[in-house]
Each structure stands twice: as C-alpha cells, then as structure tokens.
C-alpha cells in the first residue's frame, strides 16, 4: 500500500527511530534491573536544567522575532490573564513536560505554541478532536 500519506507516515516512523536520548546508546523501554540510579536520575531530571552539561559551542545569531512568535507570546499572556495558567506552570509545561527530545529539537516559540494548545486540551477548554479538526481545516487552506 503506497500513497503520499503512507510515505510521509513511514518516513516519520523511520525518523522517530533515530530519536534517542543523547547518551548515544540505543535504549528501548529497558527492564527495571537494567536502569542504574545514575540513569534514573539522568532520565527524570528536568529537561531545561542544562547548566553544566557538556556540549559543543553553538553559534549566536541575532534574529528578530517573527509575527507568529509575537502572536504566540501574546496568546500565552492572555491565557495567564484569563487564569488558565500562571507563568511557572507555563514554564514547567514548555520547558520540562515536553521532554528532552522536544526541548532540544523544537524552536523556542514552537514549544510555547504547542504548550498553549495542550493546556487548553488538558483543562478541557477544547477537546483534542476539536483541535485536530481545526488543524486539519487550517492545513487544507494551504494545499
């Protein structure tokens, strides 16, 4: 069975197979006695707590914020004014709850935007099927 959608899905599955926590060793839901205390601590740490981790230098680029980034920021502030979350819950969700893979793999305001959508689902302001239908509707405008 082949179709553009299937090809995208299979390509996605191939790519997800390459995503691993950055210990450069394959891990697949290990048995409990295969996880050391050191590994447990590494896996359960807050993903945003990167201070002191060894890494290579990254280049600094002066980049102006884009319109969608401003809109995302305003949306998140409005959610706070309406009491949907406070700033610390927002940070917890966008910096830690997303997990290490998304924390390191997605743009800064991409995490803000995903998190704004997720809290509206978590707190039952919209259903996930409503969100999926809306994303599908908007995507079709650009096809």
């Amino acid at each position: 069975m082949s179709s553009p959608t299937r090809n995208r899905v299979l390509g996605h599955l191939d790519y997800v197979g390459l995503l691993q926590p950055a210990i450069h060793k394959e891990t697949h839901a290990p048995y409990p006695d295969e996880v050391t205390n050191e590994q447990y601590r590494a896996y359960t740490r807050a993903a945003h707590d990167v201070g002191g981790e060894r890494d290579v230098p990254i280049s600094w680029e002066e980049k102006e914020e884009e319109v969608w980034e401003h809109n995302t920021f305003v949306t998140c502030e409005v959610l706070a004014w309406r009491g949907v979350w406070n700033a610390e819950e927002r940070r917890r969700r966008q910096n830690v709850d997303v997990g290490q893979t998304q924390y390191l793999g997605l743009p800064y305001y991409g995490r803000w935007l995903l998190t704004a959508a997720l809290i509206l689902v978590d707190k039952q302001f919209v259903t996930l099927t409503e969100l999926h239908d809306k994303i599908d509707e908007v995507k079709k405008r650009y096809e």
Partner: protein
C-alpha cells in the same frame, strides 16, 4: 467524568495592581537565613520539576540578599500557592562550581536565587 471547576481568577485577583511576587509579601514567616550567612544547597529530589540548577547542589554560597517571598517553583508550577517561602540571592565562587575553573579567574562569582527549602546552614 465531569469537568473540574478551576478558579480562573484567583491569581489575577491576588496580583492585580500589586505584582507577583510582591503579592506574597509577609506570607512566608520568619526567614531562616540572613545576609552574610553561609549556606549549602541540598540535593533534594527534583522529579517532575525544579528550577534549582543541578550544578548548585552540594555547593556552598553566601547569602547576598533576601529578595522576595513566593511559592517555590515546584509548587507554583501546579498553581499551588498556599506555602510561600523566602527566596535568597546567593553568591557562589565559580571555582566551587566548576572543578576545572582556571585559577587566573579565582575571584569570579555566580549569583542566583533559590527558595529556602533548598538551603541548609554550612
């Protein structure tokens, strides 16, 4: 399953016109430490959330300032704001944090803010 009933305005009502963390002033009780005290950062569990940097754990620091009262981040991140604590601005020697820090810059310091629950006398 029914929908939970969130009080959507409690923080807005508390902080509007005052500010956050100013709205928690006088709610933390007596401060355990004072300016100039030497403290050590505890290595507490941090599963699910913390803003206490791992690189500070077990290191000693000098209290530079009592900065404000606020719920610790671990509580506020789930909107639990009933137990504010004193926050302290702490000065660490860079050489105490990073083993390979060069002697040439032995006077360098790092200043950061932590809530009282993470600190013990040193």
């Amino acid at each position: 399953m029914s929908k939970p009933n969130y009080d959507l305005e409690h923080h807005v009502k508390k902080a509007t016109g005052i500010g956050d963390p100013q709205c928690f002033k006088d709610e933390a009780g007596e401060a355990k430490f004072k300016v100039g005290d030497k403290v050590r950062v505890k290595d507490l569990p941090d599963v699910f959330y913390t803003r206490t940097q791992a690189y500070t754990r077990g290191a000693t620091a000098i209290v530079a300032e009592l900065v404000y009262e606020s719920p610790p981040a671990e509580d506020e991140a789930w909107d639990n704001c009933d137990n504010p604590e004193w926050f302290y601005s702490l000065i660490f020697r860079q050489k105490d944090l990073w083993p390979e820090y060069p002697d040439t810059f032995a006077g360098d310091t790092l200043e950061t803010e932590l809530p009282e629950r993470w600190l013990e006398s040193a």
